[in-house]
């Protein structure tokens, strides 16, 4: 059944995608005949800094995401805490609902306040939240644990909402698909990929959830530094390649 639902989603997706038009910004690149022959090669050579910063900026977004949605399940259902699986699943379900509302909200907010400001606020809160989160999980008080589960993704949403535009805007239209994709996906290698292994190791080594809090705090520092180094294009005309020529590197 879950598998079938996946196939239904694919069919719906195909149906809708066949009916959409090409985006006007890419259409403009085609109309002006500025399509590159080797766009990926070119974006790696011309915008390596933007690609690497895009990957680093995801540290305190992608890594804590796995802690809050996956790692917490084995943490809370283990013998030390002894919560039921459904207790954790329902808490995670509420967290996903909160995320569902907050992601577009913070995306929208970044249009008026600026991407970097929202993103960096989210990263800073995440760095502190890691300690509060594990303090609540370890409190032994049922409702407090549940509250931690429900609020788990709030600082994640603050980063994830503006993130797509923050990363995508760092590249000119004719190199954007490759540049944004490379930066975003490379994060899996440094942030998301090792998250579970490192967290499991930290708990094993230090015997306390606060070790993971420190891990989250360190990731927040990395994100803050990377984000500070990124250029905020939220108020620029990103269809105009000239704005990238001057500060592309």
């Amino acid at each position: 059944m879950p598998f079938l639902l996946g196939l239904v989603l694919v069919a719906v997706g195909l149906y809708i995608r066949l009916k959409v038009l090409e985006t006007p910004m890419f259409a403009k690149v085609v109309a002006e005949k500025t399509v590159e022959r080797m766009p990926v090669w070119l974006v790696i050579r011309r915008h390596p800094k933007a690609i690497i910063l895009s990957a680093l900026v995801r540290m305190s977004e992608q890594m804590p995401f796995y802690i809050v949605t996956a790692f917490v399940l084995s943490y809370l259902t283990g013998p030390e805490h002894g919560f039921s699986r459904n207790f954790v699943l329902i808490g995670t379900l509420v967290a996903a609902g909160v995320e569902f509302v907050l992601v577009p909200y913070f995306g929208h907010l970044s249009d008026s306040v600026g991407r970097k400001k929202i993103y960096m606020a989210g990263a800073a809160i995440m760095g502190v939240w890691g300690f509060a989160y594990f303090a609540m999980l370890d409190s032994g008080i049922g409702w407090l644990v549940f509250l931690a589960l429900c609020l788990g993704l709030v600082p994640h949403a603050m980063q994830y909402g503006p993130q797509a535009s923050l990363i995508a805007e760092s590249f000119p239209t004719r190199l954007r698909y490759g540049g944004a994709g490379l930066g975003y996906q490379l994060a899996s290698v440094i942030a998301g990929g090792p998250a579970a292994l490192v967290a499991t190791y930290l708990i094993h080594q230090f015997g306390t959830g606060y070790a993971v809090s420190v891990y989250i705090a360190v990731s927040a520092v990395i994100t803050l530094a990377a984000c500070a180094a990124l250029t905020d294009y939220s108020r620029s005309d990103i269809a105009d390649d000239a704005i990238y020529a001057t500060r592309g590197r």
């Binding site: 879950p2 598998f3 639902l5 996946g6 196939l7 989603l9 694919v10 719906v12 997706g13 195909l14 809708i16 995608r17 066949l18 009916k19 959409v20 038009l21 090409e22 985006t23 006007p24 890419f26 259409a27 403009k28 109309a31 399509v35 080797m38 766009p39 949605t69 996956a70 399940l73 259902t77 699986r85 459904n86 699943l89 379900l93 995320e99 992601v103 577009p104 929208h108 249009d111 909402g161 797509a164 535009s165 995508a168 239209t173 004719r174 698909y177 490759g178 540049g179 994709g181 490379l182 975003y184 996906q185 899996s188 290698v189 998301g192 990929g193 998250a195 579970a196 499991t200 108020r235």
Partner: protein, 220 residues
């Protein structure tokens, strides 16, 4: 091969009209569906990798080695993602966002369907885990090419003041995928199930949802 200039002109002409508004909404939905599938599958595969695949594909290994092998197939999918970003990034910037996104979605759908239909080691022998790994790589490549295009499809419509909001729609895929997968798991927790080893992988996905913790997805 590149985008037909006439089609490009249609897209440019639509700017500012009511049709433009309709297109923008359609693009937002089209992009969000893709990331939803990606994340939904991600959460389910993690569960299956932890609970069902070890017996199904690596029955002759010790449980520990079988689990590690199973997680290895999972991790391989992640290593394939930057590769997918490069391959589809090339085409996305050459022939356009729309066509590329149809290809990534098709590839994602076909590889996921085949993983679901794949028989276990018992009927296919050693070929089964090898085919599983190949399909997993294909799926990772498709997913790797999907995100960037989804975001651009939603974002590149020219409205300066709403780009942050438009770009956040495909990001909702995480929340919707998590709600669907976690909801199903919580639901199936209430229903009794057959032993996983007696059914195909597709069936096993439903079993895994019922009898598992998605601790496997910690291997993201």
């Amino acid at each position: 091969m590149t985008l037909n200039p006439e089609h490009a002109q249609v897209a440019l002409d639509a700017a500012g009209t009511a049709e433009h508004g309709r297109q923008v909404r359609k693009a937002a939905v089209a992009s969000t569906v893709g990331t939803t599938i990606e994340w939904y599958d991600y959460f389910l595969y993690g569960t299956a990798a932890a609970l069902v695949f070890p017996q199904l594909f690596f029955p002759n290994a010790s449980p520990y080695v079988a689990l590690l092998s199973s997680f290895a197939t999972y991790f391989v999918g992640f290593l394939a993602r930057p590769v997918g970003a490069a391959i589809f990034g090339h085409w996305g910037d050459r022939i356009g966002r729309k066509v590329t996104l149809i290809v990534t979605l098709l590839l994602m759908g076909i590889s996921t369907a085949l993983i679901g239909l794949l028989p276990g080691q018992a009927s296919w022998g050693d070929a089964a885990p090898i085919v599983l790994i190949i399909l997993r790589i294909l799926q990772g490549i498709a997913v790797g090419g999907e995100w960037s295009g989804s975001v651009l499809l939603s974002m590149e419509w020219g409205d300066q003041r709403r780009r942050g909001l438009m770009g956040s729609w495909p990001q909702l895929g995480v929340a919707i995928g998590l709600i669907l997968a976690t909801g199903l798991m919580a639901l199936f927790n209430a229903i009794p199930v057959r032993p996983a080893s007696s059914v195909g992988a597709g069936e096993c996905r439903s079993c895994s949802a019922s009898c598992s913790s998605p601790s496997g997805s910690t291997f993201g």
